[in-house]
Symmetry: C2
DNA sequence: GCATGAATGCAACCGAGTTGCACCCGTGCC
DNA sequence: GGCACGGGTGCAACTCGGTTGCATTCATGC
């Protein structure tokens, strides 16, 4: 198979779960795979527009939710209250980096540290670590 | 001084910065101090209503922003995209616990683990750790 | 070809948060 | 006492991310 093509890679990933690879799903997943950082709903809308295949915003929300439910993407909510999505497969417990200057969110490869102790009775299930600061671009631009 | 009275404690904290302790500021800070968990904007609106001293929502937003700017409160944005506020003084690097069942956010006393490694060029400034799971109330209710 | 269900598109809606502006009220000055 | 001034407050309208309801389209199995 042609794993070199982002399009076919997206189709392959979607069909791997036995689901039908509809145009919208393939397009969104392809855009997510192509994005180097996480992508917001708005970014994806714009990207779809740019390639002359505009997506309905509701369809986009539904496709994104579906991708997250399928484990093909994951979402992070930034400080600006905007959800951002990434096609990185869920490595449970990977950290994020949020740039305070440009607002972009990056997935970090590094694993997490120890989980903080929770009060008695509290049942911890997942750890969510976000590093705030400046991304390489903004550090460079500001220096 | 009467540190036993939440009201006077709030007045003292506000005036410590040389600012005027207006009714709205004292009321909001008092409500925050009285809350055992973090409080959302809506919670505070309701609490103010309950004590027959309703607050304008804009005033509340402005007072909260002011309190955060003064370092008298801090805000956390949950997965539900709602900001929650706490009067706990900023101990840089304290973690939060977000209950997936009831949505409440708690401040954890425990310190954070090691900061994940960031890619080259990235400048880390602050670490934000949130544990997801079920709070004591929800664990108890669900069992 | 046709029934069926999932996926899509459109419009209207919701809720958190913001902005603009008028008003109030305490303070300093004459 | 009257008045200008400025910070704080209240109201209304707005923005924006996201959701819901519903009709339509499309793929799929029979």
């Amino acid at each position: 198979m042609n794993t070199g093509s982002p399009h076919h890679e997206a189709v392959r990933l979607i069909q791997a779960g036995g689901a039908s690879a509809t145009a919208a799903r393939v397009q969104v997943l392809r855009l997510l795979l192509a994005a180097h950082t996480t992508a917001s709903h708005q970014t994806l809308m714009q990207a779809a527009m740019d390639e002359a295949r505009p997506l309905d915003k509701v369809t986009l929300y539904r496709v994104l939710d579906w991708l997250v439910a399928q484990g093909l993407a994951h979402s992070v909510t930034g400080q600006d209250r905007v959800r951002r999505f990434s096609a990185v497969p869920i490595q449970h417990g990977h950290a994020h980096f949020e740039c305070d200057a440009c607002g972009r969110l990056f997935c970090l490869a590094d694993h997490l540290g120890a989980q903080p102790r929770t009060p008695p009775g509290f049942e911890a299930r997942q750890l969510d670590v976000t590093v705030h600061g400046r991304c390489a671009d903004c550090t460079h631009a500001g220096a």
